[in-house]
């Protein structure tokens, strides 16, 4: 139908036609798959929500005399960082906490300041306090170092998230007798509420459920800047069970992504303090899908009514690793504010933000339309996937 080169040429000449994964639903309803595929060059997707498997690594400029962070102990704003590399490479995960934080000793813990908050400060242009204590060597004699540093003071700063953008996620409920505090939010007892964590029909991996057009090397919108899919995410499942539309029914794809932290911002990288659970980083992530054939549009036309998620009890079944679910509900039902579980009406709330996911998809659309974002051909498919012919 059209090659990736043709799409990029259209982006360059400003003639590219881009629609979001929400807009494509109505377009297909009105004009059909064939005609929509003829008209549209790119479909943009978007999601925004806490993704705990996120973090940064950065490289500091050497002090005089030099210091070897590797093998020593490093904190940033008091939050424990990982320095088990060379002299000046430091990694900070978003869920890391300060030693002083009481965590859940005072239950439910508030987790007011963790690695995610450091990351948010950095992308917001604020300075953070780096403290290093280590051992001296002949080539790196210094043992202690303290400095107030901002993003521009680092040699490099990279967002690196081993597991983001879950294709399918549980809807969490609580069948127990007391309120529980989970990464799916506060869950009230006896089916008091149900929380979901997906952008549904706008979600990147639900618009290309078989991963035909994206893979390792795909350029994406990440945290307000640009990034890449670099690997399958951890816990990626290559061959999930699927429904007739190809949508996964069991745990499925995830992505490992990375990108330059410079250029990202605190609108799309936001620290979350999840009560009783921990700190996390809400990440804005969007993937452009090249319309190389009609199938791309057929999949991207997925509606909130089509996508279903398993309802899982987080009071017992989840913590004890019991398989099975309490049934499936559709994204449309979840968005209506109420679902039915075990014959009981349960009010629903989100962990992911559809409104901000929409901002991601619109911003990515705009960047492509204005010639500021070009599409890439994946260098390899993700495990279990087969890249589309002609890509």
């Amino acid at each position: 139908m059209r090659s990736l080169e043709e799409i990029n040429a259209k982006i360059k000449s400003g003639k590219v036609v881009v629609v979001t994964a929400e807009e494509v639903v109505d377009l297909v309803k009105e004009k059909g798959v064939k005609e929509t595929a003829r008209m549209v060059d790119v479909v943009t997707t978007g999601t925004f929500g806490p993704m705990c498997s996120s973090g940064i690594y950065f490289n500091i400029k050497q002090s005089t005399p030099k210091i070897k962070c590797g093998g020593g102990r490093v904190t940033v704003d008091g939050v424990a960082a990982y320095a088990g590399w060379a002299a000046a490479d430091i990694m900070l995960g978003c869920t890391a906490m300060t030693d002083e934080d009481p965590r859940n000793a005072v239950y439910p813990g508030l987790f007011k300041f963790g690695g995610a908050h450091v990351i948010q400060k950095l992308v917001a242009g604020e300075k953070v306090k780096l403290q290093v204590r280590t051992y001296g060597t002949d080539c790196y004699p210094r043992k202690e170092y303290e400095a107030e540093l901002g993003l521009s003071d680092f040699n490099n700063a990279v967002l690196f998230n081993p597991r983001n953008a879950y294709q399918l996620y549980n809807v969490a409920v609580n069948l127990g007798q007391r309120t529980i505090y989970t990464y799916m939010g506060v869950l009230k007892p006896r089916l008091g509420n149900a929380n979901f964590a997906t952008c549904g029909a706008l979600s990147p991996l639900l618009n290309d459920p078989k991963l035909r057009t994206l893979g390792i090397g795909t350029r994406i919108f990440l945290g307000g800047g640009e990034g890449y899919v670099v690997w399958p995410g951890t816990q990626h499942v290559p061959n999930p069970e699927r429904d007739a539309k190809g949508l996964p029914l069991t745990p499925s794809a995830t992505l490992a992504v990375m990108g330059d932290l410079n250029g990202m911002n605190d609108h799309y990288l936001r620290a979350a303090s999840i009560a009783g659970y921990g700190a996390s980083l809400a990440v804005g992530l969007g993937i452009p899908l090249p319309v190389i054939d009609e199938e791309v549009i057929a999949y991207a036309a997925v509606r909130d009514e089509d996508i279903t998620f398993p309802v899982v009890d987080y009071s017992e079944a989840y913590p004890l690793g019991r398989p099975g679910s309490l049934g499936r509900v559709s994204m449309a039902q979840l968005m209506s504010g109420e679902i039915e579980v075990d014959g009981k009406k349960v009010s629903t709330g989100g962990m992911a933000s559809r409104a901000r996911g929409r901002e991601v998809a619109r911003e990515l659309k705009q960047r492509i339309a204005q010639g500021g974002f070009f599409l890439t051909r994946p260098v390899a498919a993700l495990p279990g996937a087969e890249l589309a012919q002609g890509l």
Partner: protein, 135 residues
């Protein structure tokens, strides 16, 4: 009939006095206590809904003022910080009175303070510090 949701703050000397009882008995007001916190020798605070004729309500409020009870409208007590909110909608599932709802098309949070009963369920549910109680 007039209805008003108010926050009453009692100084320590009034904690032993049956002020609320007097509102009912002397001024014929219907009192619905939504929340209360009494710390002996320090302060008492009550969120209540008062219902009665315009005159009873006026007289009742004057009585509270005479007694030295600070009366504040409730809307100032719970705040939704729009710039911190990411519109995730987690709060809407735990709000018992639909003070926090989702606008179905924009998927953005709508906070209606007049429906809020200050239960503070939303505070723990919000991971972004966008809800704050002054209670």
């Amino acid at each position: 009939m007039v209805k008003k949701k108010l926050v009453l703050s009692f100084p320590p000397r009034l904690i032993q006095q049956p002020v609320t009882n007097n509102l009912i008995r002397l001024f014929d007001l219907e009192v619905n206590i939504l929340r209360a916190r009494v710390v002996p020798r320090e302060q008492g605070r009550i969120v209540m809904e008062l219902k009665g004729s315009a005159k009873s309500l006026k007289d009742g409020l004057e009585y509270l003022e005479e007694q030295g009870v600070q009366v504040d409208p409730m809307v100032q007590e719970m705040r939704h910080y729009g710039e911190l909110c990411v519109q995730c909608t987690a709060c809407t599932a735990v709000c018992p009175t639909d003070a926090l709802t989702v606008e179905p098309v924009s998927r953005e949070i709508v906070f209606e303070p007049s429906h809020c009963i200050m239960c503070e369920s939303c505070i723990a549910a919000c991971s972004y510090g966008a809800m704050e109680s002054q209670f």
